[in-house]
């Protein structure tokens, strides 16, 4: 089975967990995003057909909501929290440090596919500000130096992906 056909089959299976109604478009796309870590073009076409919604509407949803990505994300997703509490406690310095180490901007993925960098506006762990989340692991009370050490562990393969 070609990769493209595989995506179409899989994404149809995901979509069919919901009734073919327009109101489930957001939920179906969320499930597909979770499955692939992005929204493949074939999957969006499949969903459009399943719900009888124009493809442009599906694309509109995919680009409007922050939860969606049109390109594959890395093995580790680094989310630097830039909520207000983190911001005034120096989250920008954390972000600068990650940018410097990995050479990528927020929204980008390293060439080796290992890291994606994102900023989030508050993850609700303000008591530990400034915070970064790598996949599901929270790291609080960070400084640029301590974040560098944590990243080095991931780079050295000392941490397994969750």
């Amino acid at each position: 089975m070609s990769e493209s056909l595989k995506i179409r089959t899989e994404s149809l299976e995901i979509a069919q967990k919901y009734q073919p109604k327009r109101r489930y478009l957001l939920a179906i796309l969320q499930d597909i995003q979770k499955h692939y870590n992005y929204l493949p073009a074939e999957a969006m076409e499949t969903v459009a057909r399943y719900l009888s919604v124009p493809l442009v509407k599906v694309y509109g949803m995919a680009t409007f909501y922050k939860a969606f990505s049109l390109t594959p994300k890395g093995k580790y997703i680094i989310k630097v929290c830039d909520g207000t509490a983190c911001h005034i406690k120096g989250s920008v310095n954390l972000l600068d440090e990650v940018k410097m180490i990995l050479g990528i901007e927020p929204g980008q993925t390293t060439d080796d596919g290992l890291f994606s960098l994102e900023t989030v506006a508050c993850i609700g762990a303000c008591g530990l500000a400034p915070v970064a989340v790598i996949n599901d692991e929270y790291h609080g009370n960070l400084t640029p130096a301590s974040l560098r050490q944590i990243l080095e562990q991931y780079q050295g393969g000392m941490k397994d992906a969750k």
Partner: protein, 598 residues
């Protein structure tokens, strides 16, 4: 069974980030390996947020009322040995209350708790967050039963009206009045929506309520359903709030199995169901009409009001949207009565408000206080004052829609109207304390950057106006500010406020305008002197070490990520300005305040 002990382990997001689930697992394991008498086996409950997130993970033991802070898995055997099997208190794990200058055994005696009054958060931390039985034991669903068996829909609305409850999502619209509109609206099908799209950075009370006490939200919605004649509810919850979604879904299933949701609730003939919809991550979806479009399966763009959702909302049907915290108040008001509720708070703002007290404050966490309390009481009595003994500069309320309140206004009683009079607003309840190391220009820029990314782009004043203001502010922060910039910001800000389509744009200029009004000198220093007094804007900051103050301890050397600081032990150190990236790590680390801003 009366001597049975219960261990409440906070598993709110803040404590989970600190590893509270590992403690929960370790507790279960330690207990099962002990072969204890049945009498001694404690109930171990995962709970929602206890409030003082900064000291987490928090563990509370009843009935002896012992609260431990910063608990680690290594402490678990000792807690079991000394506080469960015996009745001892482990002094080392108690909270040191600075105001009382003593260690305090129970959280109810913390100064942090003394001025609080919990209504919306009444169960958070005190019941297992996944147990309907716990909720019912505490009187849960009695409000729903009461309205179904003894009250007419009109009487329910009347109680809510008389209580003076106003929407806790920010605007403060009278809840009872909103319900009247929907009750009077024509139509067989009506809807009830819970707005759990808490997007305001720095606020997490809605998440904590949904995580820690999901049934109170469902009960509130069902009561409203009965009052306005709706049989279907939707809970729109941010997808990032995984635990809230999970707990809420379980709560719906459990309520169904007990006959408290579904058809013929409590044999009254009334039917009500609820469903979780996961949000897509767009701040604008906190706005009513955007949220409705998002549930319908479209992009979350606002539409003009009127028509108001109470008349034409979800799929064109009359719809009531209230915020999570508002729903959490409803069952209590029904149980205790309108007069009880109206006796709490200030003249025009009744009841309590939950605030997320964060930023440069000693006690970070969730607090619930009566309306009308003074800011000073929240920050100093409950919050324990500004962290690291730094100087208080301002407190920000209302998030990206609000503004900053300076020290001179600290005795302001907090309610919806007083905050608006000061150019800020209640918002969802973020309260961010700022010290003298926060730049007010950069802080205003921060909110505008957030809003420029979150503006849906539908109306021009918001989309283009915010973008222009952001460009001017960025220029000021990066040293390209010009005379006349401040006036231009004020002019564009007034235009955006007056002409935007929805609440996002109408309030977007507030953080900028309020910072200009209260901290104009900082803007002028950036523009005229090319200097950032707080030492935040990197192009306008030069750091140096004051050789008269430096004690040569070397802490700064370790904290510097680029090796810009050097010096002999116990001799004044030197900072190489060429190498320095102005991250201020050294300034935060220095114990004697020797790192200065030029």
């Amino acid at each position: 069974m009366q001597n049975k002990k219960t261990i409440f382990i906070c598993c709110g997001t803040g404590c989970q980030a600190n590893g509270s689930m590992k403690i929960y697992q370790a507790m279960l394991k330690a207990i099962s390996g002990l072969n204890l008498d049945v009498e001694v086996i404690p109930d171990i409950k995962k709970t929602g947020c206890h409030g003082l997130c900064q000291k987490g993970p928090l563990v509370h033991i009843a009935p002896k009322e012992i609260t431990y802070i910063h608990v680690k898995t290594a402490d678990v055997p000792e807690i079991i040995e000394r506080s469960i099997i015996k009745d001892e208190v482990i002094d080392r794990l108690l909270y040191f209350d600075k105001q009382q200058n003593a260690k305090v055994q129970s959280k109810s005696d913390w100064t942090f708790e003394k001025k609080q009054y919990r209504i919306a958060l009444r169960h958070c931390g005190g019941i297992a967050n996944d147990s309907i039985d716990d909720y019912i034991d505490k009187g849960g669903y009695q409000g729903l039963e009461k309205v179904l068996k003894t009250m007419t829909p009109e009487e329910v609305i009347d109680v809510i009206k008389k209580s003076g409850l106003r929407g806790r999502g920010g605007g403060g619209f009278p809840t009872g009045l909103k319900w009247t509109f929907a009750a009077k609206a024509q139509g067989d099908v009506k809807y009830v929506i819970c707005n759990g799209d808490e997007g305001d950075p720095g606020a997490f009370m809605d998440r904590s309520i949904m995580e820690g006490d999901p049934h109170t939200v469902l009960e509130g919605m069902a009561i409203c359903g009965y009052a306005i004649g709706a049989n279907q509810g939707f809970l729109y919850i941010r997808d990032e709030y995984g635990l809230a979604v999970e707990n809420m879904r379980k709560a719906i299933a459990d309520a169904h199995s007990k006959g408290l949701l579904g058809k013929n609730i409590c044999d009254s003939g009334f039917a009500f169901d609820a469903e979780v919809v996961r949000g897509g991550g767009a701040f604008v979806c906190g706005e009513e009409t955007s949220l409705i479009h998002s549930i319908e399966g479209s992009t979350g763009e606002p539409t003009p009001k009127p028509p108001f959702p109470a008349n034409q909302g979800l799929w064109g049907k009359p719809t009531i949207i209230n915020n999570v915290e508002t729903w959490a108040n409803v069952p209590v008001i029904i149980n205790k009565g309108a007069d009880w509720f109206a006796a709490i708070g200030s003249e025009k703002s009744k009841g309590t408000k939950v605030f997320a007290l964060v930023g440069k404050i000693n006690n970070t966490g969730l607090v619930e206080v009566p309306m009308g309390i003074k800011l000073r009481e929240i920050i100093y009595d409950i919050g324990g004052g500004v962290g690291k003994n730094r100087k208080f500069k301002a407190v920000q309320t209302g998030g990206p829609s609000g503004g900053c309140i300076p020290e001179s206004k600290l005795d302001l009683p907090i309610d919806y109207d007083s905050l608006i009079a000061e150019g800020s607003m209640m918002g969802s309840g973020g309260m961010i304390v700022i010290d003298d190391r926060t730049c007010m220009v950069e802080f205003a820029r921060y909110y505008l950057k957030f809003l420029s990314e979150e503006s849906c782009g539908k109306c021009v004043p918001c989309r283009e106006g915010i973008k222009s203001m952001l460009k001017i502010l960025t220029d000021i922060c990066e040293g390209r500010g010009q005379a006349g910039d401040i006036e231009l910001l004020e002019e564009i800000g007034a235009m955006v406020k007056a002409n935007s389509l929805c609440g996002l744009g109408k309030t977007a200029p507030n953080p900028v305008l309020s910072n200009i009004a209260n901290f104009r000198d900082e803007f002028e220093a950036h523009i005229n002197d090319k200097r950032c007094p707080a030492g935040v804007c990197k192009n306008l900051t030069k750091l140096y070490i004051d050789s008269k103050v430096c004690i040569g301890c070397g802490l700064c050397v370790k904290s510097c990520p680029v090796g810009a600081i050097s010096g002999e032990k116990k001799q004044p150190h030197v900072l190489d300005e060429e190498k320095c990236i102005k991250c201020s790590s050294c300034r935060e680390r220095c114990a004697v305040d020797a790192v200065r801003v030029r």
